[in-house]
Symmetry: C2
Subunit: 421 residues, 2 copies
């Protein structure tokens, strides 16, 4: 399997099978796609012990490799987490079918009736790291939208992914859908990733899930289109008309609820007029909550702060660290975000409707928020059932990517012997 020629043949075969499965899926009823996911959830529950045993192999391998506690925790499956995986599958199954919907229809002067209807994209490639649940989530969302999927999990979660994948296959079989609809790349060889990035004939879009190293590699090398975000350099701006209680609640939640997710706030911007009041209180509260606050003057008057350096602006800490500075006005905040942001999620805290509109109009992040924690940047919280990732690109999918964003469309045009003059 370590021979490059073999990997090429292997991946070409997987790609061709995926294309063929996609053609069958495109006309499979929504009930069958949902039934496959429910049956897969049943299989997950029935196979829980086997999944946890497979996960144990991965954990032993990871400990041998000296992986850190955070990585080990990400990788670990216990009965509760296995149950959550099954619940996630049922949740996606229960979402409305995104396919077949008439997105728009109209009649033109020539008499033609035109419909724009939702169709699957075709074949999705998902390249991810250690979280075993991505196998189930990504497989489920792609199937829900009528796409075949090629999953390439991280080598750390190899056995866990195989065990979960086996349950997905059981679900497909139970629903009479092609097993090739959800394929897991059966090798840890990294050459398989390079193949996927170049398989323009067999893969329509690639979704990388993981750290900046993986996503950056995929974005740089892929010949196939990519839905992804490289970084979540999330800003919270406290406007001069911020409500003190909301400001405190939002910024604390945005930073501290979970520091390692892409929607976690990384930089606090404070309007000069409230620097010594709401701003100083927020910085103090963050420090009290265990956050290292790297600040520029005058916020350094707050006890317990450390001095920010230039490299702290635009930094994605993904940790209990936050940068903070004062801006002269809302346009100063906007200029800072334009310069240092990553177009993922940015938030304004204000009671001033016009200020919020200004912030919304002048910035072009995928998600802009007012008076809400940036930790809501998530497909589940957006009501999409689940997400395969969050995209910051401007084409096709943007923000949380759910089943609906994994679809395309076609035009159906009906005439009556209609000819063009």
């Amino acid at each position: 399997m370590k021979d490059l020629d073999d990997i090429h043949a292997l991946m070409t075969d997987i790609g061709a099978r995926a294309r063929s499965a996609a053609a069958q899926l495109a006309t499979a009823p929504g009930e069958a796609r949902a039934a496959a996911l429910d049956a897969a959830a049943d299989a997950i529950m029935a196979q829980a012990d086997a999944i946890i045993a497979a996960n144990g192999q991965d954990l032993a391998f990871a400990r041998d490799k000296g992986l850190g506690a955070a990585m080990l925790d990400r990788l670990m499956l216990d009965p509760t987490r296995v149950q959550a995986i099954a619940a996630g599958l049922r949740n996606v199954a229960a979402q409305p079918d995104p396919l077949g919907a008439v997105i728009a229809e109209w009649t033109v002067p020539s008499g033609l009736h035109i419909q724009r209807v939702r169709t699957p994209i075709g074949v999705i490639g998902v390249i991810y790291e250690s979280r075993p649940n991505v196998t189930a989530d990504a497989g489920a969302l792609c199937l829900k939208a009528g796409n075949a999927v090629i999953l390439r999990g991280g080598s750390e979660s190899f056995h866990s992914a195989r065990a979960i994948h086996a349950c997905l296959i059981e679900g497909l079989r139970a629903a009479g859908l092609p097993e090739d609809a959800i394929q897991l790349v059966p090798t840890r060889d990294r050459a398989a990733v390079s193949e996927m990035l170049a398989m323009t004939d067999h893969i329509d879009v690639i979704v990388p899930r993981g750290g900046k190293g993986l996503v950056g590699l995929v974005q740089r090398e892929a010949r196939v289109p990519v839905f992804a975000h490289l970084e979540g350099i999330v800003h919270v701006y406290l406007d001069k008309k911020a409500d003190p209680a909301k400001a405190l609640a939002v910024v604390l939640n945005a930073k501290t609820r979970r520091t390692g997710i892409c929607g976690a706030a990384e930089c606090l911007l404070v309007h000069r007029d409230i620097a010594d009041t709401i701003g100083a209180d927020a910085v103090s509260a963050l420090i009290a909550a265990g956050i290292e606050m790297r600040v520029a003057p005058p916020l350094d008057r707050v006890a317990g702060t450390t001095a920010a350096t230039d490299s702290d602006w635009g930094q994605e800490f993904l940790d209990a660290v936050m940068a903070a500075r004062v801006v002269d006005d809302i346009d100063g905040a906007i200029a800072h975000i334009r310069r240092y942001g990553s177009g993922h999620t940015d938030c304004i805290v204000t009671e001033d409707k016009a200020a919020a509109e200004h912030f919304f109009a002048r910035l072009d992040s995928a998600i802009l928020m007012q008076n809400a924690s940036t930790q809501f940047a998530d497909g589940g919280e957006f009501g999409m059932g689940a997400e395969i990732g969050i995209a910051t690109g401007k084409l096709h999918a943007r923000g949380p990517v759910g089943a609906e964003q994994l679809t395309s469309f076609k035009y159906l045009v009906r005439g009556n012997g209609t000819t063009r003059p």
Copy 2:
């Protein structure tokens, strides 16, 4: 200008100016964008003589190069065509503003109100060949959707494009919009095209307009996403339940109205049951209309046909030539189209609603038609005002690409100090 380093510097400068103009355009009111197009139309009419004189220079150059009559006709501008260019600009100006519209909005259980609003994409690159009107059409559609555009016309239409571009600039100036919103690459050096294809920082999407050579090059080489179709291998299938009069009208119009456009039919498929009746009549009528019919038995019984060879299936003739064959049933037609089609536009002629639904469901061309000429595959005919091209890709834009397809979206989320548990 022939130095590669200079072209790189030139294009980087153009790209940076486009980004800056795009940021300004994103907040310019729709009235200003429309006013710029109306003012540009005025300038086109006022400068008609100068445009025609510039076009004369291009025609002389083209004749020296020995270009064929069809190319010369494509290149040529006369007062009527100049007037049509101005009318096209006014038509785009009069379309509803695609920006700012709330595409969807909903409230989630956490209390957040979520809006998905339409925004510009950013910077569009357009690479085209000899038609001078593309300068105006592409410039207008990009501006209408709030995007900056970098136009790279063919060397044959160099002077015509410059003269038309000058009028677009006049329009931008009159409306107080940045002149860099519509830039024309000021060199015939082909290195500029290679630069554009790699300018991922400065161009968000590239639209190639021209022959298969140009489009193929762009699709192969571009690191920037592309909206395009390589070929229009358009099929018309006459079902056993076809109405004879509609069949004749549709197939004649689909093939003969204009043979050189991408929506022109290239292959006729006939259900076996009507091969000797409707099928034979259609083939005869096409021959009478001057079309060379390359047919497989039993259609060779029709007088005046020539024998089809394997290479005629899936051939984009773009000329007065058409392939034709009999299929056993609708699934035979679908299988032929899946194998040889290009996913552009395909048509079924039938009175049988179920057959049409089957054809629509089993095929995934960008445009599927029933009882209508495939020559309607056009943004104008779809009611989009104009089109920048037709796309067969499955991501973002598909079918005719008008101003609306040149937009992206962002999420605006409003809370009330809302935090995530």
